[in-house]
């Protein structure tokens, strides 16, 4: 009874909080499409809706385009072709100016390169990490060999160490290996992360030993056991590790701004920083860049959201 009464109240509160928390993302998109320096037939000077006080809460181009379209139709009906053409031109102007920042972004900045770099680095790193962590996790969960516990604990104990501690030495190592300003500098250090080994080992502990023993009796080679038995069974944990690694690499910022100087080699977060450094006050342009960076990861999240939730709760439950 009490629960039934309370439900609408809590939904209302939650909706309010959700609106507040999603507002910044909405504001990115809204500003990116906002109409800048625009003047229609009723205005005496151009107005920028990007920089207006009070701020416009939605892209004005949408309503302005519709109203110009209506005016054009009215003029056509009245037979005033000259006036209809004026409105037609304003419609084009509204459209071009609303999307203008994206045009400039795609033609004058390497944003497509950043997008591509981010994508392929994230995919490649994720693929390698999932493979090598599953291999390591399998052995640490199911095999008994000298040094196993030392190796396990040394790897696990680095999970708590903040990234900043290894920043300087890793930088020196990357320079010594002549990897500075290459994508290897972004890919290789991530392969050392301990989290995945821990996750895969914990998951694979639950696989019954009998399965592996049975395969061994059937004469399956070690590689075949891994390939035919372990990999299929480990799939849920691999998916979880994969999506979290993907997001981690995709959003990495501190390390990429240190080891990549060449603008064409940057990933999206680092690229956005150079974009902001060069256009500090052009917020429509900056938000257009932010939109290009935000949309792929939002789509990725919406597709895989189940796994995010599963993975988070998997990490919380220990042993």
């Amino acid at each position: 009874m009490i629960r039934k009464l309370k439900k609408p109240v809590s939904i209302t509160i939650l909706l309010a909080i959700a609106i507040v928390s999603l507002l910044p993302l909405y504001w990115v998109f809204s500003t990116a499409f906002q109409l800048p320096s625009y003047q229609n037939e009723e205005m005496d000077r151009p107005v920028s809706y990007v920089e207006s006080a009070p701020p416009k809460l939605y892209p004005v181009g949408i309503t302005e385009y519709i109203s110009q379209w209506q005016k054009k139709r009215e003029a056509e009906r009245a037979g005033d072709l000259e006036q209809a053409e004026v409105h037609g031109e304003l419609m084009t102007e509204v459209r071009e100016k609303s999307f203008g920042a994206f045009n400039r972004l795609f033609t004058r900045t390497p944003v497509m390169k950043w997008l591509f770099n981010s994508l392929y680095i994230a995919v490649l790193t994720t693929a390698i990490i999932v493979l090598i962590d599953t291999m390591a996790g399998y052995v640490l969960a199911k095999k008994d060999f000298p040094g196993k516990w030392i190796i396990f604990w040394v790897i696990i104990s680095t999970m708590m160490i903040p990234e900043q501690v290894t920043l300087v030495p890793t930088f020196i190592i990357v320079q010594e290996l002549q990897l500075f300003d290459t994508h290897w500098a972004l890919i290789l250090p991530n392969l050392a992360l301990a989290f995945g080994v821990f996750l895969m080992r914990q998951f694979l502990l639950s696989i019954p030993d009998e399965l592996i023993e049975a395969a061994k009796i059937d004469g399956a080679s070690e590689w075949k056991i891994f390939y035919k038995i372990i990999l299929p069974l480990a799939r849920p944990a691999m998916a979880t590790l994969g999506i979290f690694t993907f997001v981690l690499v995709w959003n990495a910022f501190l390390w990429p701004i240190i080891v990549i100087n060449d603008v064409d080699l940057m990933t999206l977060p680092a690229g956005l920083k150079t974009l902001q450094d060069a256009n500090l006050a052009d917020f429509k342009f900056l938000m257009a860049g932010a939109t290009v960076a935000a949309v792929p990861i939002i789509i990725f999240f919406l597709i895989f959201q189940r796994y995010f939730i599963k993975g988070l709760t998997m990490g919380g439950v220990k042993e």
Partner: protein, 308 residues
């Protein structure tokens, strides 16, 4: 490999008696083979850097020379006003944001939990979405929202009759602005982890309390919160580590200014290492960061565990 037939029998008899370390290693070479790729990357890019970081913190590194200077960089760090400001700001930021994270996550999770599965899924996603979005993007749009003349914030507080505030532009409000931002980004991971933990609490506990006439608030305070203690401990440690490493917002929104008002530890480490190229000092600073986080983790662990 080692297939001298004459040695075979004697070798085998050794195995029968007591396998030596070497034979055990040889027997398990497949295991080492599976571990090898991870171990190589782990050694080069994790193990060596961690040990080396401590060593570099005692060094002065020139272009061609390396001198050992003892604890010089540690003294230097604590004497420098930027580092001290950063330490204080980071500490303040953590003290304010971590409790806020925990309380918001707990309250939102408690509100979501009784709902049906469709609305649960919807709200979980809505609150988690900002967490997946890059902090760079979030920082860029918040800088815009904090804009003095055209920003959303001054517009909103204008509704309530407040004068516009130069949020990021003055020492008195810059750090609080970053805290407000951190608090208003929903703690997506925290909510989901709390939700899972709440669903694990046995309903019989609540039924027993109901028989004793407890109201929902009492049930929340006396059952839910104590049962969630391990989860809370985990989240406090995780978010303390996260808050202590605050960096992206700083470099994208304030650059540590105005003055030193928003300098944080990681931003100072970054500047020391990669603008001044003072690797020794930067390593000392990062070792200090590490020790503080270790201390925090141990202290929190003890504090939340002992009063069971």
């Amino acid at each position: 490999m080692n297939s001298n037939p004459n040695l075979q029998p004697s070798n085998e008899s050794v195995i029968m008696k007591k396998p030596t370390l070497w034979t055990k290693i040889k027997k398990n070479k497949v295991a080492y083979f599976f571990l090898m790729p991870k171990l190589i990357f782990f050694t080069i890019f994790m193990l060596i850097p961690i040990i080396w970081a401590f060593i570099i913190s005692f060094q002065d590194r020139g272009v061609f020379t390396v001198d050992y200077v003892g604890f010089k960089h540690y003294f230097e760090a604590f004497q420098s006003p930027i580092f001290r400001a950063a330490l204080w700001n980071t500490f303040l930021y953590t003290i304010v944001t971590v409790p806020a994270f925990i309380i918001t996550a707990l309250v939102i999770a408690a509100l979501i939990q009784p709902l049906g599965s469709i609305s649960q899924t919807f709200f979980r996603s809505a609150f988690y979405l900002p967490t997946v979005t890059s902090m760079v993007i979030i920082a860029m749009v918040w800088r815009w929202m904090y804009n003095y003349r055209f920003g959303l914030f001054n517009y909103i507080i204008g509704f309530f009759g407040f004068e516009p505030v130069n949020w990021l532009g003055q020492t008195s409000t810059a750090l609080p602005s970053l805290m407000i931002m951190a608090i208003l980004i929903p703690p997506g991971a925290g909510i989901i982890i709390y939700l899972a933990a709440m669903n694990n609490i046995s309903p019989s506990l609540y039924e027993a309390a109901e028989i004793d006439g407890a109201n929902s608030f009492q049930k929340f305070m006396k059952i839910t919160i104590p049962m969630l203690k391990p989860t809370t401990l985990y989240l406090v440690i995780i978010s303390t580590i996260g808050s202590f490493q605050v960096f992206t917002q700083i470099i994208m929104m304030t650059g540590g200014g105005p003055g030193y008002s928003t300098e944080t530890l990681v931003h100072v480490i970054y500047k020391t290492a990669f603008r001044d190229f003072n690797f020794g000092l930067a390593s000392a600073q990062s070792v200090i960061l590490f020790l503080i986080l270790m201390g925090f983790a141990i202290a929190q662990f003890k504090a939340l565990r002992t009063d069971k």
